[in-house]
């Protein structure tokens, strides 16, 4: 346990003030949040003005959500995370209900997608569901540790995970969030289970199926016209052939990345955000980072996320109990998945599915609940006994 020992060495100072939250983690998160705000302003000012809004429209909106999120983070970090155990089932059901509410008149459509709830503030239930799932399954696996070691238990757990995932997919037409929800649970199960092989085999099977579909589409064995999503596979494989439509966003993002060079054009100097990369402050914000700050900036952002994930890993491995470990494992999985998938999409390594970059992409709900998750992780870190 090389890694574990290292952690033990580092927080020696923490012994003085027991119950101190992981300050490094707080620092990394604050840094990312502020950096995100700057990038959102840079990427969105032009399109905000074009849309008849103030240049700082997106910035202010994100700032409000961020402040709210930081409050939530600070509050939750003070609370003993064991309290969450009591809210496991309510968290699960509240998530389901909120997703279902999108179907009611409370549902809100933005940019042609019906994914939001209008509760005075706009709320994206999929983001709530991600936290809900992490809390619920941490408690569920903790309480049913023996059961989830058998096939029946595993299937039951997977069904429990599939319900919110399928609802997110079918009700809000949001495949990427559904995949992330399902993947978080799947990885939590994998970690908690003493067995590895079945999970690895199943994952390998799923990846193989996905690759087969791509192969089949690429070689025109099945006409891509069958479904819109299949058409997107073609655009992914050859974005230049679909430069004016389905491949447009991807291609423009690639142009941004490629035109950045080593040190970039300088903060605020992107030309691609001027109407070429659609919704530059959103999913594709990483391409603007590459354009303005170059490969150097991109590397710095990735290193920050690696540090973030490493700190979560440390908290998970050192948590005083399984529940705490699983909570932080879920949070860590969530962050790792979103960052890797987002950058993979922006670089056209993976199919464009619409995944945001944590703390940096524009999105109020995402920001609030991601900070909530950090709050949970901080709460766990406070209860790590030193010495």
């Amino acid at each position: 346990m090389d890694t574990a020992r290292r952690v033990r060495v580092r927080p020696v100072k923490k012994e003085k003030i027991q119950g101190q939250a992981d300050r490094s983690l707080i620092f990394i998160v604050l840094f990312l949040v502020v950096f995100g705000l700057i990038m959102i302003y840079s990427a969105s000012a032009y399109s905000a003005v074009r849309a008849g809004r103030k240049a700082n429209y997106y910035l202010m909106s994100q700032l409000r959500a961020t402040l709210l999120g930081l409050l939530a983070m600070a509050g939750i970090s003070k609370v003993d995370y064991h309290v969450l155990k009591k809210f496991a089932w309510p968290a699960y059901f509240v998530s389901l209900v909120l997703i279902a509410l999108v179907l009611t008149p409370l549902g809100m459509t933005i940019n042609g997608a019906r994914r939001w709830l209008n509760l005075g503030l706009s709320l994206q239930p999929a983001e709530v569901a991600k936290v809900g799932v992490i809390v619920f399954f941490s408690a569920y696996v903790c309480g049913n540790l023996k059961r989830v070691q058998h096939l029946r238990g595993i299937i039951k757990t997977i069904i429990l995970a599939a319900v919110p995932a399928l609802m997110v997919y079918s009700i809000t037409d949001n495949l990427s969030s559904a995949i992330i929800i399902f993947a978080i649970v799947y990885i939590m199960l994998f970690i908690a289970s003493p067995k590895s092989a079945p999970y690895i085999i199943l994952a390998a099977v799923l990846v193989t199926i996905a690759m087969l579909i791509v192969y089949v589409i690429a070689h025109n064995i099945i006409p891509a016209e069958l479904s819109y999503r299949l058409g997107r596979i073609k655009a992914w494989l050859d974005p230049e052939a679909y430069a004016s439509n389905r491949g447009f966003q991807t291609l423009q993002a690639l142009y941004s990345i490629g035109s950045g060079g080593v040190l970039g054009k300088g903060l605020g100097q992107s030309t691609q955000k001027l109407g070429f990369v659609p919704e530059a402050q959103n999913d594709m914000i990483f391409s603007i980072i590459c354009e303005e700050l170059g490969m150097f900036g991109a590397l710095a952002v990735i290193l920050l996320f690696i540090m973030l994930i490493y700190h979560l890993l440390m908290i998970a491995t050192n948590a005083p109990d399984l529940f705490g470990s699983l909570l932080v494992t879920g949070v860590m999985t969530h962050f790792a998945l979103q960052v890797v998938l987002n950058i993979a999409v922006v670089t056209n390594t993976l199919l464009n599915t619409g995944i945001t970059l944590p703390f940096i992409s524009y999105g109020g709900s995402s920001s609030v609940f991601l900070l909530t998750e950090i709050g949970i992780a901080l709460s766990v870190s406070r209860s790590i006994r030193m010495g």
């Binding site: 346990m1 003005v49 690639l254 080593v262 030309t271 070429f276 590397l299």
Partner: protein, 755 residues
């Protein structure tokens, strides 16, 4: 605490989580490499692409080339913005071609003349092609209409999509394809238009591609006519707002010329009549090798008309169909001509085939030499020996240099021996004793040689140069020749001086002759011949005004009066005493000089005949110079009548138009002739009436205001004459008017005024 132990995060779990972390690190490493690769492999291309996308917003706004107008504001040349329809197959075919049909559908509706199945076929077969011109020179309203239909379709589609999405039929909504806006675009250009087609073609010149004028005014004033392209581009201002800035094009300047469309039309009409009438008159072939006419104001150098033959359509200068090219066949070498008519060179060298017999318009129409000959302006570009029209110059020089007094009498015996040469007079029997004036009137060579000898070569050369021979006149037309290689120098001998006195042995251009002769008769003042009088910018403000440019006083005003008197005798004497009486338009006083120059080689007995005339005789207001090179006539040396009558025909029609009134009583014969001629004035002529103007006059812009209908040309200038006196009549009251003042004449005074 077994349960409690179980709820610990076991080391196996920790291991798994650490493995997972390393997998994430691996993924990040891969992505970093991927970003680096994108920069390394495509960095340059993407940088360019990003820049290209930016400049996409910046468009060039082409300037409009200035117009060319005549002295009355009639537009002779102008530029009109037109659009070419371009199909970009590559952009049309994006997204698996889903945009093709919606686009073609709107194309079909907007451009009925477009063969849509042809376009569909092309787009299908050439998915990578990005430039195919389908329709040319469309007018702007059709483009606006097309764009409006596209926008309408796109907004209708978007509404429909929203409806379907609300109903949850997302796939259906996504299936609605918009027309591809970029797949069809319109290339802007200005097209040069000449509303009168062939009118003044040699003077105007033309523009074929771009804004490069060729020949004439278009070439000479190319930079003045051209403007500066504008630009429209977007940039971000301090607030991050995209601001669109348009730097409008600076349109070119308009030229106002001294040309008069009506006089030009009259001139061209008569040249054409002449050319057609005399074709095949004696030998098979054209009426002459070249015909040129210049009409100008001798008092300020303004050119009113300048014409040659044949004419060509300025709107399509390459099209030689209907242009009489046979007169230029002689410009080609024998082998080139053989090739042109499709006879093998061997055949030509073996036999004496008369290639000229085989020449047709079609066989010459693609030849560059021939085209150049058609396009150039004979009046300024060609030089020739002037012949006897030079005689008044010689006399003027002699008197002005005080070499002779002007009242000398010389004896003509029909020839003069100079050294080994015997130089004959036109009348080989000799006219006996002749005054200088009679010598000019009868065009006696012997008298002129004596005058020249009295002056000597130095004086002759000095005046010859002063009159501008061998120099550019400075006329504002491209392609002027100065003839410098064919003028006499100090090396000239006595024989040279002898022949030079009557205009042989050296070359002149028509414009040199006309400008010099103007000085001869206007009091001795040499004006630079000129066409452009004003340069006007696109807002109509005058940018530059060209005042008549008096270069020098060549001869004294007294000498000018005397020479003019001599020249008047050429036309106004009794027919048996002069050579030019056939040039006089009925009712007018006229002076002038005929010319019959023997061409080289002399043995061929080919001639350039000419006539220089001016009206009225005592106070010239208009000068007309006619040159006919190698007339199609049995006896060329006695064919000056062809030139004088052509001059008369033109002047008979031009003078009333210029409001120069007849002052000589008409004979019955003349009256009859005049009324016959008036019947042919404009109406029924090809040049101005009929389709030529109305069909090409452009509707909807300033040009139409200026385009002339035949009535407009004609009516203001109809002059009715009193059959008794030949005096003009008031068009409204029918009263007889004083020809000079144009005021009604009191009946009592009338008798005094009668000639």
């Amino acid at each position: 605490m077994a349960g409690n132990k179980q709820r610990k995060f076991t080391s196996s779990m920790q291991k798994k989580l650490v493995v997972l972390f390393f997998l994430v690190l691996l993924a990040f490493a891969y992505l970093i490499i991927r970003i680096a690769n994108i920069n390394r492999d495509n960095g340059e291309a993407y940088k360019k692409q990003v820049l290209a996308q930016q400049s996409y917003d910046s468009t060039t706004l082409p300037f409009k080339r200035g117009s060319i107008e005549d002295r009355n504001g009639t537009v002779l040349a102008y530029s009109e913005k037109v659009y070419n329809l371009i199909v970009d197959s590559k952009l049309l075919n994006v997204d698996d071609g889903i945009h093709v049909e919606p686009t073609l559908d709107i194309l079909q509706k907007s451009f009925a003349e477009l063969d849509i199945s042809d376009v569909r076929n092309y787009v299908e077969k050439n998915p990578g092609a990005s430039y195919k011109k389908y329709l040319k020179q469309l007018e702007s309203n059709r483009i606006e209409n097309y764009n409006a239909m596209i926008d309408e379709a796109i907004s209708a589609n978007s509404v429909r999509r929203d409806e379907l999405r609300k109903e949850g039929r997302t796939e259906e909504a996504d299936a609605i394809a918009d027309p591809a806006k970029n797949g069809v675009w319109f290339e802007e250009e200005y097209k040069r238009k000449y509303p009168y087609n062939t009118l003044a073609c040699d003077v105007l010149g033309f523009v074929q591609t771009g804004n490069e004028g060729q020949y004439g005014l278009e070439e000479y004033y190319n930079d003045t006519l051209n403007g500066i392209n504008g630009r429209s581009y977007g940039y971000l201002n301090a607030d991050g707002t995209l601001t669109r800035t348009v730097k409008e094009a600076d349109d070119g300047y308009t030229l106002v010329t001294s040309l008069d469309t009506n006089i030009q039309s009259i001139t061209e009409k008569h040249i054409k009549e002449f050319a057609e009438k005399n074709r095949n008159a004696y030998r098979t072939g054209p009426a002459a090798d070249n015909i040129g006419v210049i009409i100008m104001n001798p008092n300020n150098g303004e050119v009113l008309a300048m014409a040659g033959y044949p004419v060509f359509d300025l709107n399509d200068p390459q099209d030689m169909e209907g242009v009489d090219l046979t007169q230029y066949a002689g410009l080609l070498s024998r082998s080139d001509l053989a090739e042109a008519v499709g006879v093998s060179v061997n055949e030509v060298s073996g036999n004496e085939i008369d290639l000229m017999e085989l020449v047709t318009n079609e066989s010459l129409s693609d030849n560059a030499i021939i085209k150049n000959a058609v396009w150039k302006n004979y009046c300024i570009s060609d030089t020739y020996e002037p012949g006897s029209t030079m005689k008044p110059f010689t006399v003027a020089a002699a008197i002005d240099s005080a070499s002779i007094r002007g009242d000398e009498v010389y004896v003509c015996n029909g020839a003069l021996e100079i050294g080994e040469h015997t130089i004959h007079c036109h009348n080989r029997f000799g006219d006996g004793p002749l005054s200088v004036k009679q010598g000019i009137a009868k065009s006696c060579n012997v008298v002129l040689m004596d005058v020249a000898f009295a002056m000597g070569k130095q004086e002759w050369l000095r005046y010859n140069r002063n009159f501008g021979f061998g120099n550019y006149t400075g006329i504002d037309l491209a392609g002027e020749s100065n003839g410098a290689s064919n003028v006499f120098t100090e090396k000239m001998g006595q024989t040279d001086l002898a022949v030079a006195s009557f205009g042989q042995g050296f070359n002149v251009s028509m414009i040199q002759m006309a400008a010099g002769f103007s000085a001869l008769i206007n009091g001795g003042r040499y004006y630079e011949p000129h066409l452009v009088t004003r340069v006007v910018n696109s807002e109509g403000a005058v940018v530059k005004e060209y005042e008549p440019k008096e270069i020098k006083q060549i001869i004294s005003s007294d000498v000018s009066d005397e020479v003019r008197d001599d020249c008047n005798a050429v036309v106004m004497s009794e027919p048996e005493d002069c050579t030019g009486w056939t040039a006089r338009p009925a009712g007018y006083t006229m002076g002038g000089k005929t010319g019959t120059a023997e061409k080289l080689p002399r043995a061929a007995k080919n001639y350039v005949i000419s006539f220089m005339g001016y009206v009225p005789a005592d106070d010239p207001e208009v000068l007309c110079y006619v040159v006919i090179d190698h007339p199609n006539h049995e006896d060329q040396s006695n064919s000056t009548r062809l030139a004088t009558t052509l001059c008369k025909d033109i002047m008979t029609e031009v003078l009333p138009y210029l409001n120069i009134f007849p002052t000589v009583e008409l004979t019955d014969e003349e009256r009859e002739e005049l009324s016959d001629a008036e019947a042919g004035f404009f109406i029924g002529s090809d040049a101005v009436s009929g389709n030529a103007i109305s069909a090409n006059a452009v509707s909807g812009n300033s040009v139409s205001e200026n385009s002339i209908s035949e009535n407009e040309i004609y009516t203001p200038n109809v002059i009715q004459y009193d059959p008794g006196t030949g005096f003009p009549l008031d068009p409204n009251t029918g009263e007889i008017l004083d020809p000079k003042t144009l005021l009604p004449i009191d009946e009592n005074v009338k008798s005094d005024l009668e000639y």
